[in-house]
């Protein structure tokens, strides 16, 4: 497949300003977006892919998606190559469109070097009022409140318990399952098997999450190599092919209808399943991002492994333990027990899913005939804004 002739540049807009003392960089991004969409005859709601680089303030693409009120995004790209980023983005957008990942991609650039640049706390470099920030537009309304992963995920757990009756004991089963797997992993940071009682009696970190509801903090890393079918055939390793992938941001949408009981997996999951042509019932093993126990529970619901609100009952009684339950998860011990390198668990989720699909997981946790696996992650915070991504992999017979 080539991008040749598969994508069109249908909107283009150059902002008329050359000196913007009275506008934020976020505002300029939005004005540029509007200009290009108006030129094309499209609306913000038509946009299903967003591309930005390091000039966009905030958290990857997430802050600007939130700021601009983009609510139909299914593809994101924040590749940064300095001033050439937007040319890279155009090529990537064409690839994404050719692959059917999106239909309307928005690429924005904006900044105010004459007025202090894009730095948080900047503003003194030009005629703009001094002492003002031009950083993430949400920062002044969020970062002062002591939000951490612990307490923002705690807020999700608190609401989930309130709406669905989920209990600390049910959440604890997720840690128990991870610990059962970690005992076989020689590299696991925590190898001891724990009980539900030990989890719920560990000290409270951020209500209702206890110490043992939290993942480990570890140094380390990982990498994967993705090849063409032709290269794959020339190599001597088991062939694990990508069947489908989906992604989605979940942002605050102006605070309207805030619902912290679900994640972006409600969008990224179905996109991956649709592309793969499989259903949750077909999946033999799942790697599920496990920054906290509640993270796993919500994502399992959102991916369709059980109904919304029934996650507590689904994870209880060892249902996630390999060889015991119906849905073996994180057989390396996951982020909860094994590894969460540099607080970014997505890489290790892919790696254990590949081990399972290859049949190379530890024999004590290897899922029999494990030909179809899923890896899913959430980055940022479930309780504030985050990016969700789901991939489905298959071992080629």
């Amino acid at each position: 497949m080539s991008i040749k002739g598969q994508a069109y540049v249908m909107g283009a807009y150059e902002h008329p300003t050359r000196d913007a003392p009275d506008k934020t960089t976020a505002q300029l991004h939005a004005e540029c977006a509007r200009g290009a969409l108006d030129d094309a005859g499209l609306s913000f709601d038509d946009v299903d892919a967003y591309f930005c680089a390091g000039d966009a303030p905030g958290f990857g693409a997430m802050s600007m998606i939130d700021y601009m009120g983009l609510r139909n995004i299914r593809h994101m790209d924040t590749t940064e190559t300095g001033g050439s980023s937007y040319l890279v983005h155009l090529g990537h957008a064409a690839q994404a469109i050719a692959a059917g990942k999106c239909q309307v991609a928005l690429i924005t650039l904006a900044g105010r070097p004459r007025n202090g640049g894009n730095r948080p706390g900047a503003g003194g470099g030009g005629r703009a009022p001094t002492g003002l920030s031009d950083g993430a537009p949400e920062a002044g309304f969020e970062s002062i409140y002591g939000g951490s992963t612990h307490n923002t995920y705690g807020m999700c757990a608190m609401r989930h318990m309130y709406e669905y009756g989920t209990t600390s004991e049910q959440l604890a089963w997720i840690k128990v399952a991870a610990s059962h797997h970690a005992q076989w992993n020689a590299h696991a940071f925590l190898k001891n098997v724990v009980t539900v009682e030990e989890v719920v009696n560990s000290r409270m970190i951020a209500d209702p999450l206890h110490l043992l509801d939290c993942c480990v903090v570890t140094d380390g890393g990982g990498a994967v190599v993705v090849t063409s079918p032709q290269v794959a055939r020339s190599l001597k390793r088991p062939k694990v092919r990508v069947l489908g992938a989906g992604e989605a941001p979940k942002v605050q949408q102006g605070g309207r209808g805030l619902d912290l009981t679900y994640s972006g997996a409600v969008w990224s999951g179905p996109r991956a399943f649709e592309e793969a042509g499989v259903t949750p019932a077909d999946i033999k093993y799942v790697s599920i991002y496990d920054s906290f126990t509640i993270t796993v529970l919500m994502q399992l619901e959102d991916l369709g492994f059980c109904k919304k609100g029934e996650g507590g009952r689904f994870v209880a009684d060892g249902n996630l333990i390999s060889g015991v339950g119906k849905l073996p998860f994180n057989t390396d011990g996951g982020g909860l027990c094994n590894n969460h390198p540099t607080n970014r668990g997505g890489m290790t989720k892919i790696i254990e899913a590949v081990r399972q699909a290859r049949g190379e997981a530890h024999p004590k946790v290897q899922v029999p005939s494990c030909d179809l696996v899923l890896a899913h992650g959430t980055g940022g915070s479930l309780g504030v804004r985050h990016g969700s991504a789901t991939v489905i992999l298959e071992r080629e017979a």
């Binding site: 506008k23 537009p137 705690g154 309130y162 951020a206 605070g255």
Partner: protein, 138 residues
């Protein structure tokens, strides 16, 4: 850093200075006068949070400041116990105008919070910046 498990009677937490932008300056200027502002779009009529110049609902640039009584209910919360300054509560308030906003809950004991509780804004000094909104039981 020490971990604290003893709950004081009422929670409070020192606030760092908020990052004020050109777009948020009117909010924090009003906060210094004890007034709580939200933004509403004159094109679609909807209020939003956090305040911005572009309506996140209909994308119109026609947003205006509106004074709010700063009342609402707790949507969710979490008391953070792993804190060198003592436990504090973060959470979301659903304002009576509709939008939900992130905040801290103060003047309340850790076990005194509940989802659905009515709360009202108050302004708390920050470390070297303008006062910022926190919420206390109404």
């Amino acid at each position: 850093m020490s971990d604290t498990q003893e709950a004081p009677a009422l929670m409070s937490r020192p606030l760092p200075a908020p990052a004020v932008t050109l777009e948020s300056k009117p909010f924090f200027d009003a906060a210094a006068e004890g007034r709580f502002l939200i933004k509403r779009c004159t094109a679609c009529g909807e209020a939003h949070w956090y305040p911005r110049s572009v309506c996140p609902h209909c994308h119109s640039p026609e947003t205006v400041w509106e004074e709010s009584p700063g009342t609402g209910v707790i949507y969710t919360y979490s008391v953070m116990w792993r804190s060198p300054t003592g436990p504090y509560a973060i959470g979301y308030v659903t304002l009576d105008e509709g939008p939900a906003m992130l905040t801290n809950f103060v003047d309340v004991a850790p076990d005194g919070l509940s989802i659905g509780m009515r709360v009202k804004v108050k302004f708390q000094p920050t470390e070297g910046g303008p006062p910022a909104p926190v919420f206390a039981p109404a």
